[in-house]
C-alpha cells in the first residue's frame, strides 16, 4: 500500500507553507485598509505581495523532492485543541503545481484585468482570494480546509458583485448560494466523520491522516462520499451541476473569471482526489462509473453547447465544463496514467483558460463587445493577437506539442486501460473541441473586418504581451518537455491509486506483454 497517509511526512526547517498562505492574506489586509484613492500604491503593494508569494511558490517547487509520494515541508501545530483542529499543512505531487498555478495566475489576473475603479479593494480581494486558495490546496486538516474553502467565496462574491457586468448581482448570488449549498453537505459530512472517528478512538480530530483510519461501513462510506462530493461537483463544476458557471463567468470581471475558472474550479477536482479518494476509497471505486459517465457527458455536452454560444465568455464556460470532464475521467480511472494526467490537466486547464479570458478581455476592451457575431476579420487587423489566440486555441483542442495534449492523452490512455468504452466515448470530445474552437475562431478572426473592427481593433501592446508571455511559454514548455512535472506528480498519483486499489483488494491494471501473453484475447473485445 502506498503511503498516502503517512503519520508524519518530511517536516521542513522553515515553515514555508505557513508563509505562503499568510503572506498574501496579510498583504491583502494591508491593502484593504489603505485609503480609497491610493489605487496606484495598492497595486504596487499588492504586486510586491504577489511577487513574494510567487517567489516562495517557485522555491517550494525547487525544494520539493522528486520521486517521493508523501507530504513534504509539513507544518503541524495544534490550533484549537478543544475541537481537535490543527494547523496542519503539507505539499505533495497533487497540490504542488496547483499552488504554483495560484501564485502565477493571481498577479496575471490582477495586472491583466486593469479594473479602473475602486482599485484598493479590488487588489485586496485578489490577494485574499490568493491566500485562501493556497490555504485550501495545502491544508491537511479537514476543518482548516473547509475554512479556506469557504473563505474563497467571499472575495469571489465581492469581485463579481462589485466589478461585474449587467447581471452581476444575480450572477454573484447564484454562484454564492449554489456553492454554499454544496458546502453545507461537506460540513455535515465532515462533522459526521469526525464524530464517528471520536466514537471509535475517543479523540476528536479533523486531521486528514487520522480520519482516513476511521472504520466505516460501506453504506456510511457512500453517504459521506456523496456529502463530500456535493461540494466538489458544484465547485468544479461537473455536469449537471454547472449552471451557475456560464452566468458567473460571463458577468464577472476578467480577473474574477481568471480566478474562478483558472484556480477555483481546481478546488473541486482537487477535493475529489484529496478527500474523496483518500477518505472513501471503496465508495469512490464503486461509484466511479457514475462519475466517469458524468465526466463523459460533461465532455460531450459541454462541447456541443459551446459550439452554439454567441458569447465568448459563455463559450469558455462550456469549454471548461468539457475540459474538466477530462479531469474527472482521469481521477476516476484509477490508473497512474489517468490520475497523473488528471492532475497535470488541472494545471493545464488553468493556464489555457486564464489565457483565453485574458484574450477575451483584450478584445472586449478594444471593441466593447464579447459577442462573437460582432467580431470578424481580427486576424487582418491584429495578426499577433490572432496568432497568440491561435496558440491558445490549439492548446485547448489538444494539439500535440502543446500542454493540453499531454494531459488529455494521459487521461485517455489511463482510462482506456480499465474503462475502455468511456475512453472511446470521451475521445469524441477530441473532435468536438476542434469543432467549437475553430468555428468560433473562424467567426471572430477570419473573414474581412468591417469598419468598426478596423478602427477600434488595435494590435496587442507590450504590457499585454508581457502578461501573456508566461502563459504561452508554459503552454509550449509543458507540451514539449512535461517530464519535470510528471516526475513530481507521478509518485503521488501512484500512491493514491495504490491506496484505492488496496482498499478494494484489486490488482493494479496490467499492461504490456505479460497480460496479453496470459490472456490470448486481451484486446479487440
Amino acid at each position: 500500500m502506498g503511503n498516502i497517509v503517512p503519520s508524519h511526512g518530511a517536516a521542513s526547517a522553515l515553515p514555508y507553507l505557513t508563509f505562503i498562505i499568510l503572506l498574501p492574506i496579510i498583504f491583502g489586509l494591508i491593502v484593504g485598509v489603505l485609503p480609497k484613492d491610493k489605487g496606484g500604491i495598492a497595486k504596487v503593494i499588492g504586486g510586491i505581495g504577489m511577487a513574494a508569494t510567487a517567489v516562495l511558490a517557485v522555491a517550494i517547487m525547487f525544494i520539493f523532492a522528486t520521486g517521493k509520494s508523501g507530504y513534504q515541508m509539513v507544518t503541524d501545530h495544534t490550533w484549537i485543541s478543544q475541537l481537535g483542529i490543527s494547523w496542519h499543512f503539507g505539499v505533495d505531487g497533487l497540490s504542488l503545481f496547483l499552488v504554483v498555478l495560484v501564485a502565477l495566475l493571481a498577479p496575471i489576473a490582477l495586472y491583466g484585468a486593469q479594473e479602473k475603479y475602486r482599485t484598493t479593494s479590488f487588489v485586496a480581494w485578489v490577494l485574499i482570494l490568493e491566500g485562501a486558495c493556497i490555504g485550501s490546496f495545502l491544508a491537511l486538516d479537514v476543518f482548516v480546509f473547509f475554512i479556506f474553502f469557504e473563505l474563497t467565496l467571499i472575495p469571489t462574491y465581492f469581485m463579481v458583485a462589485g466589478w461585474g457586468g449587467k447581471e452581476r448581482g444575480k450572477a454573484a448570488l447564484k454562484f454564492f448560494l449554489y456553492t454554499l449549498l454544496g458546502s453545507a453537505f461537506l460540513l455535515a459530512g465532515m462533522l459526521i466523520l469526525a464524530g464517528l472517528h471520536q466514537s471509535q478512538t475517543g479523540t476528536l480530530t479533523f486531521d486528514l491522516t487520522e480520519l482516513a483510519k476511521t472504520h466505516l461501513t460501506y453504506s456510511t462510506e457512500v453517504l459521506l462520499f456523496l456529502c463530500f462530493s456535493a461540494a466538489f461537483v458544484v465547485k468544479t463544476p461537473i455536469f449537471p451541476f454547472h449552471t451557475w458557471s456560464p452566468l458567473a463567468y460571463k458577468e464577472s470581471p476578467i480577473a474574477g473569471a481568471v480566478m474562478l475558472a483558472g484556480v477555483m474550479a481546481k478546488l473541486g477536482t482537487y477535493g475529489l482526489v484529496r478527500f474523496d479518494l483518500t477518505l472513501f476509497p471503496r465508495a469512490s471505486y464503486r461509484l466511479a462509473p457514475l462519475f466517469l459517465t458524468l465526466g463523459v457527458i460533461g465532455i460531450i455536452y459541454g462541447a456541443v453547447v459551446a459550439a452554439w454560444q454567441k458569447d465568448f465568455k459563455r463559450l469558455v464556460a462550456f469549454s471548461s465544463l468539457s475540459h474538466l470532464g477530462f479531469v474527472v475521467l482521469g481521477i476516476f480511472a484509477f490508473t497512474a496514467q489517468g490520475l497523473t494526467g488528471g492532475i497535470l490537466q488541472m494545471f493545464n486547464h488553468g493556464i489555457v483558460t486564464a489565457a483565453m479570458f485574458l484574450l477575451i478581455g483584450m478584445i472586449t476592451r478594444r471593441t466593447g463587445s464579447w459577442q462573437i457575431s460582432s467580431l470578424g476579420g481580427i486576424q487582418r487587423v491584429a495578426p499577433v493577437l490572432a496568432g497568440i489566440t491561435m496558440v491558445v486555441v490549439l492548446a485547448g483542442l489538444g494539439l500535440p506539442g502543446l500542454n493540453g495534449f499531454v494531459g488529455e492523452f494521459l487521461i485517455l490512455t489511463g482510462t482506456f486501460l480499465l474503462h475502455r468504452w468511456w475512453a472511446v466515448a470521451a475521445a469524441g470530445g477530441v473532435i468536438l473541441s476542434a469543432v467549437y474552437l475553430l468555428w468560433a475562431y473562424q467567426r471572430a478572426f477570419h473573414g474581412t473586418p468591417d469598419e468598426g473592427i478596423v478602427s477600434r481593433m488595435k494590435e496587442i501592446n507590450i504590457k499585454e504581451s508581457l502578461i501573456l508571455a508566461p502563459l504561452i511559454a508554459l503552454i509550449v514548455f509543458i507540451g514539449v518537455f512535461p517530464a519535470p512535472m510528471l516526475d513530481r506528480i507521478t509518485p503521488t498519483a501512484n500512491s493514491i491509486v495504490a491506496h484505492v486499489d488496496s482498499a478494494n483488494h484489486v490488482a493494479p491494471p496490467s499492461t504490456g506483454a505479460k497480460s496479453t501473453l496470459s490472456s490470448s484475447n486481451g484486446g479487440g473485445k
Partner: protein
C-alpha cells in the same frame, strides 16, 4: 553520420521560429530565401544521414537518436526519439527535396502577397512537422508530426482567410482529420495496453506474440487515422475543398507529402499488417473503391486544381492497394514517383493560374501551348508519368502496385487497370482543355475578384514564369521521367529500392498465385496499352471541342454526392443538436431543475413572510403566544 538525423527536422523548425520573430522585418523576398535555404539544409542533413545508414548493414541500419523522456508516467514511457532507417531516410529525402523545390517556387508564386513572410513560416513549420512524422521512433512522435502537419495544413488552406470559402475549407480539413485521428489515438491506446510500449521496435518485436484480434484491431484503427490524412473513401471531400489554398500548398501538402503520411504509417506498421491478413484485405478494398470513385470524379471537374485533387485521392487509393496486397515497396515506390509527377502537375497548374491571373476554370483556358511552351511541356510529361506510359516513372511504380494486386486477386487488378485508363483519360482531358483547342479566355472577359489584392484585374497575357518557378518545374519533370530507375523490375539487382527498404518492412505472406516472368511482361504490356488508349480517347474527344455535357454527368461533378451527403447529414444534424442543447436542454431542463428548486424555496418563503408583518405588537403577541404554547407543551408532557 547518422547523428545528423536530429538536424533534419530541427533546421526547418528553427527557421520557422526565426521567421516568427524576424520574418516581418526581413520581408520579401529574404524571408522566403531563408526558409528555402533551411529546407535545403534539411535535405543535405538527410543526405548525410542516408550515407551514414548506408554505411551499416542489416539490423544495424536502424539508428535511434534519443533526446529526452517525453511522457514518463510509471509503466508508460515515451521517448522523444528519432529513428533513421531505410524507410524513414527515404521519406526524409524525398520530403525535404520536394519541399525545397516548392519553397523556391513559392518565392515567385507568392510575390506581392500581404502575408509573404507568414506563408514561409507555415511552410517551414509544415516541413518540420512532416519530417518529425517520418522520423519518429514511436507512434506518439509520429502522432506529434501527424497533428502538426494537420494544423499547418489548416493554416495554409485558410491562408487567404478573408475568403469565407478558404476559412471554411481549412476548418473542414482539420475536423475531418480529427475524426480520423481518434482512430489513431485508439490504435495507440490498444497498442500500449497489449504491448506496453509505443516504440516501433517493441511493436514489431512483440507483434507475433499478441493475439490476432488485437493485432487486427490496432492495424484497422491506425488505418482509420490514415483514411483521414490520406483522404480515403469516404473521408476524401476535404482534399477537394483544400484546393482553396495557394497552389504551392496544394502541391506540397495535398499532393506530394502530407497526404502520403497515411501510406507511410501503414508501411511503417507493415510487420504488424503482415500478420493481420483480414485488416490487409480491408485496406485493399478501401483503396480500390477510393481509386475508382475519385478517378471517375476527376473526369468531370472543371477546376484545373480539382482534377488534380481527385487524381491525388485516386493515386493514394493505389498506394493503399499496394499496402493491402503486401506490395509495400511498390507503395513507397509509387509514393515517391507520385510526389515527383503530382508536384510537377500542381506546379505547372500553378504556373497556368499565375499566368492567367488567378483563373482556374479549364473551360476558360485553351491554346496555352503556344504561349506557355515550357509549362505545356512539363504538364505533358506529368500526364505521361501519371498515366503510366513507358518509360515514364508512373509506368514502373503503378505497374508494381498492379502486379501486387494481381497476385492477390485478379478482380482488384482489373479494377485497378480500368482506373488506370480513367487516369490517363482525365489527365488527357485536362491537358487538352488547358493547352490545346481554341483560346476561350478572350470569349468571356469577366471581372474576377482577385484573391490577392496586389494582383489588380488586368488583361490576360499568359506567359511562362520566371526561373524560380520554372526551375523546380523542370527539375521535377526530369525526375518524373527517370524516377522509374529507382526500382526497375528487369533484374533482381536493379530493384534498388526493394533491397534498400527490406530491413524496415514486414514480410507479407507469399502471394497466392505468384506471377511468372512471362505473365509480368503481359501485365506490363496491358498497362501500357490501357494508358495510351485512355490518353488517345481524351485527345480525340477534347482537343477540338470543350463541351461534352454527356461526358460530364452532374453526379460526377459533385463527386458522387458522397461529401455533400456527409456535410448535410453531419453538419445539419450537428448544428441542430448544438442548438437544441444550448437553447432547450441547458436553460430549460438542467438550469430549469435548479431554478425549480429555488422557486419552491421562494414559494415557501413568500407564504411564511406574511408572519413578519413588521407591526411590533403583533409580532410580540406571536412571541408571547409561542412561549405560552411551548410552556404548556412542556408542562403537559411533564405530567402536570
Amino acid at each position: 553520420m547518422e547523428h545528423a538525423v536530429i538536424f533534419i527536422p530541427i533546421i526547418p523548425l528553427f527557421s520557422a521560429l526565426f521567421l516568427i520573430c524576424f520574418g516581418k522585418k526581413l520581408g520579401e523576398p529574404l524571408a522566403g530565401w531563408i526558409a528555402t535555404i533551411a529546407v535545403g539544409a534539411s535535405f543535405v542533413a538527410s543526405l548525410i544521414t542516408w550515407i551514414g545508414v548506408l554505411g551499416s548493414h542489416g539490423i544495424d541500419r536502424t539508428f535511434i537518436q534519443h533526446l529526452f523522456n517525453w511522457l514518463p508516467v510509471g509503466s508508460f514511457q515515451v521517448q522523444m526519439a528519432f529513428q533513421a532507417d531505410p524507410l524513414s531516410v527515404t521519406m526524409a529525402l524525398f520530403v525535404s527535396g520536394v519541399s525545397a523545390l516548392i519553397h523556391l517556387y513559392s518565392i515567385e508564386y507568392m510575390h506581392g502577397d500581404k502575408d509573404f513572410p507568414k506563408f514561409f513560416i507555415y511552410l517551414n513549420l509544415f516541413v518540420a512537422s512532416m519530417l518529425i512524422l517520418v522520423l519518429g521512433a514511436n507512434l506518439l512522435i509520429t502522432f506529434l508530426g501527424w497533428e502538426g502537419v494537420g494544423v499547418c495544413s489548416y493554416f495554409l488552406i485558410s491562408f487567404w482567410f478573408e475568403r469565407p470559402k478558404a476559412a471554411t475549407a481549412g476548418k473542414k480539413a482539420m475536423i475531418v482529420n480529427r475524426i480520423a485521428d481518434v482512430g489513431f489515438l485508439m490504435a495507440m491506446f490498444l497498442a500500449f495496453q497489449s504491448i506496453g510500449s509505443l516504440n516501433y521496435s517493441n511493436l514489431i518485436s512483440s507483434a507475433p506474440h499478441i493475439s490476432h484480434t488485437t493485432l487486427s484491431a490496432i492495424v484497422v484503427l491506425a488505418f482509420v487515422g490514415a483514411m483521414g490524412k490520406s483522404a480515403q473513401f469516404p473521408l476524401f471531400g476535404w482534399l477537394a475543398d483544400a484546393m482553396e489554398g495557394p497552389t504551392p500548398v496544394s502541391a506540397l501538402i495535398h499532393a506530394a507529402t502530407m497526404v502520403t503520411a497515411g501510406v507511410f504509417l501503414m508501411v511503417r506498421l507493415s510487420p504488424l499488417l503482415a500478420l493481420a491478413p483480414g485488416a490487409a484485405h480491408f485496406i485493399t478494398i478501401i483503396g480500390i473503391i477510393t481509386a475508382f470513385v475519385a478517378a471517375a470524379a476527376g473526369t468531370s471537374q472543371n477546376d484545373i486544381k480539382k482534377v488534380l485533387a481527385y487524381s491525388t485521392v485516386s493515386q493514394l487509393g493505389y498506394m493503399f492497394i499496394g499496402v493491402g496486397s503486401g506490395a509495400y515497396v511498390a507503395a513507397i515506390f509509387l509514393m515517391v514517383t507520385h510526389a515527383f509527377y503530382k508536384a510537377l502537375l500542381f506546379l505547372s497548374a500553378g504556373s497556368v493560374i499565375h499566368g492567367m491571373n488567378d483563373e482556374q476554370d479549364l473551360k476558360a483556358m485553351g491554346a496555352l501551348r503556344a504561349l506557355m511552351p515550357m509549362t505545356a511541356l512539363a504538364f505533358f510529361v506529368g500526364w505521361m508519368a501519371i498515366a503510366g506510359v513507358p518509360p515514364f516513372a508512373g509506368f514502373f511504380s503503378k505497374g508494381d502496385v498492379l502486379l501486387g494486386a494481381y497476385q492477390q486477386n485478379i478482380f482488384i487488378w482489373l479494377a485497378g487497370v480500368i482506373t488506370a485508363g480513367l487516369t490517363s483519360y482525365y489527365m488527357g482531358r485536362e491537358f487538352c482543355l488547358a493547352f490545346l483547342g481554341k483560346r476561350r479566355w478572350e470569349e468571356k472577359p469577366k471581372v474576377k475578384k482577385s484573391a490577392r489584392s496586389s494582383h489588380a484585374v488586368k488583361e490576360v497575357h499568359p506567359h511562362d514564369p520566371g526561373f524560380k518557378m520554372l526551375g523546380p518545374i523542370l527539375l521535377l519533370a526530369c525526375l518524373a521521367v527517370i524516377g522509374g530507375l529507382l526500382n526497375l523490375p528487369f533484374a533482381s539487382s536493379l530493384k534498388v529500392l526493394e533491397h534498400w527498404l527490406a530491413p524496415s518492412l514486414g514480410v507479407a505472406p507469399a502471394p497466392l498465385h505468384a506471377a511468372s516472368s512471362a505473365v509480368q511482361w503481359v501485365l506490363a504490356v496491358v498497362d501500357a496499352i490501357v494508358a495510351l488508349g485512355g490518353g488517345y480517347i481524351a485527345f480525340a474527344i477534347w482537343s477540338k471541342k470543350s463541351k461534352h455535357p454527356e461526358l460530364e454527368p452532374v453526379f460526377l461533378q459533385n463527386a458522387w454526392y458522397i461529401d455533400a451527403t456527409g456535410d448535410t447529414v453531419i453538419a445539419k444534424s450537428g448544428t441542430k443538436l448544438a442548438e437544441i442543447s444550448a437553447d432547450v436542454i441547458e436553460p430549460v431542463v438542467i438550469d430549469g431543475a435548479v431554478v425549480g428548486i429555488v422557486n419552491i424555496a421562494k414559494f415557501v418563503g413568500v407564504g411564511l413572510h406574511r408572519i413578519a408583518s413588521g407591526f411590533v405588537r403583533r409580532e410580540a403577541l406571536i412571541i408571547a403566544g409561542g412561549t405560552v404554547t411551548l410552556l404548556l407543551a412542556v408542562g403537559i408532557r411533564g405530567g402536570w
